[in-house]
């Protein structure tokens, strides 16, 4: 009965972007996919339509058009591409929720390229000063979207942002995607969240978790 939210997934051809799109298509959402690799986008579209005949999803040719039409924009692009995309969507992303999923990893995966007093999410907020940037989906792997329950436990996924209403909306998306959302705090908590994923990546490589791993807060 509720009006559908329109979500633009920018970078929907990638592992993370396509996984997010696939899982969000199960909810009361209308998805607009944009990605540079048109063939991959076509595959993602077919995939989603095959698994949910009723899914409302389509590919758009332009990131700015997709963002103009969207209520929520998910930037599923590497940190290094954020600046270029932000410039393209800045005007049409005004006042909208923009989800930053990026982890600003260096080439050798043993550190972050951002300074200690900032994060990929905060840098994006500087590029899009009138948007509501929310950090989410950065502490999970693409494979977790297929298997969000690992070893009998539902993977936690952290959400951080400065606008309470926006954070709530995004927590709802995280839940739709199959994870247990935990609101971690304001946007600067992203520094910790991005470092958490750096650690998880390092542990995954060291102990061969096979890229299926996630965080779970144990509590009483």
């Amino acid at each position: 009965m509720s009006a559908k939210q329109t979500i633009a997934v920018i970078g929907a051809a990638g592992n993370m972007g396509s996984s997010i799109a696939r899982n969000l298509s199960k909810g009361n959402n209308r998805l607009l996919l944009f990605g540079n690799d048109k063939e991959k986008i076509a595959t993602v579209l077919t995939d989603i339509r095959n698994s949910h005949a009723s899914a409302e999803v389509e590919a758009l040719e332009c990131a700015a058009d997709a963002s103009w039409e969207a209520d929520i924009i998910i930037l599923a692009v590497p940190y290094q591409a954020e600046q270029e995309i932000a410039a393209k969507i800045k005007e049409v992303a005004n006042q909208k929720i923009v989800i930053s999923i990026a982890n600003p990893l260096n080439d050798t995966y043993d550190g972050l390229v951002t300074a200690a007093d900032t994060s990929a999410a905060e840098e994006l907020q500087k590029l899009l000063p009138n948007s509501k940037v929310v950090k989410a989906f950065n502490t999970v792997f693409a494979a977790d979207f297929v298997t969000p329950v690992i070893d009998g436990k539902q993977t936690d996924a952290f959400v951080a942002g400065d606008d309470a209403e926006a954070v709530n909306t995004v927590a709802g998306l995280v839940k739709t995607a199959g994870f247990n959302p935990i609101v971690a705090g304001d946007l600067k908590i992203s520094r910790t969240l991005e470092n958490m994923q750096l650690l998880l990546i390092q542990l995954t490589m060291k102990y061969n978790y096979n890229w299926l791993a996630g965080w779970k807060i144990l509590h009483n």
Binding site: M1, S2, A3, W68, E69, E91, N94, Q95, N130, E165
Partner: protein, 193 residues
């Protein structure tokens, strides 16, 4: 993207270039395609929508499933479920697009901040709401006391060119008539000319 919005704003309350830029920070540009909902009955109306391009309608649906159109919004018009927007109660209206549309949305929080920060915005909103109230009064008076031919002419004066953009059964719905009655009214008017 905000052309008509600021043209209308400036017609009522003059803004400097700087003020326009500051107000722009609070606005949400949004495209809506034909038949898509901006609001569904039962949801809370989170935005007031200003139409830059296209056409929308607000309506209620009765138990038999019949639509009753409350308002059309063409370029330069504002549309919302004001009751729901202001009180946070569930909306009683549905709002959807009759044509592909480009909108300027103002969210509740943006609206409140604008009211606080810009006295000119408050003046603009007061004039808007006054205008809307007068329009509503006219519509009410027209419905309860005017002959149908006059009501239809008033409607066309209020929404120029709408007959070319909106199907007759929707205009009939707006006027509270059956399509057949509206058709008779139209032929009486053209017979008179």
């Amino acid at each position: 993207m905000y052309e008509i919005f600021f043209r209308k704003f400036n017609d009522r309350v003059g803004l400097t270039r700087e003020e326009e830029e500051l107000i722009k920070q609070f606005l949400t540009p949004k495209k809506l395609r034909k038949k898509q909902y901006l609001l569904q009955e039962g949801d809370v109306c989170k935005h007031v929508a200003f139409v830059e391009k296209g056409a929308l309608k607000a309506y209620t649906v009765d138990e038999g499933g019949t639509e009753h159109i409350v308002q059309f919004a063409l370029e330069g018009w504002t549309i919302s479920d004001l009751y729901s927007f202001l009180t946070g109660e569930p909306a009683t209206y549905n709002i959807d697009a009759l044509e592909d549309a480009e909108l300027v949305l103002i969210s509740k929080s943006a609206h409140e901040e604008l009211l606080q920060q810009f006295p000119k915005y408050e003046t603009y909103i007061r004039l808007q709401i006054t205008g809307a109230y007068i329009a509503l009064q006219k519509r009410l008076t027209s419905i309860i006391s005017q002959p149908l031919e006059e009501r239809y002419s008033n409607f066309l004066a209020l929404y120029p060119n709408i007959a070319q953009r909106v199907p007759q059964h929707m205009i009939a719905s707006y006027m509270g008539l059956t399509p057949e009655t509206l058709s008779r009214v139209r032929s009486r008017i053209s017979a008179r000319k």
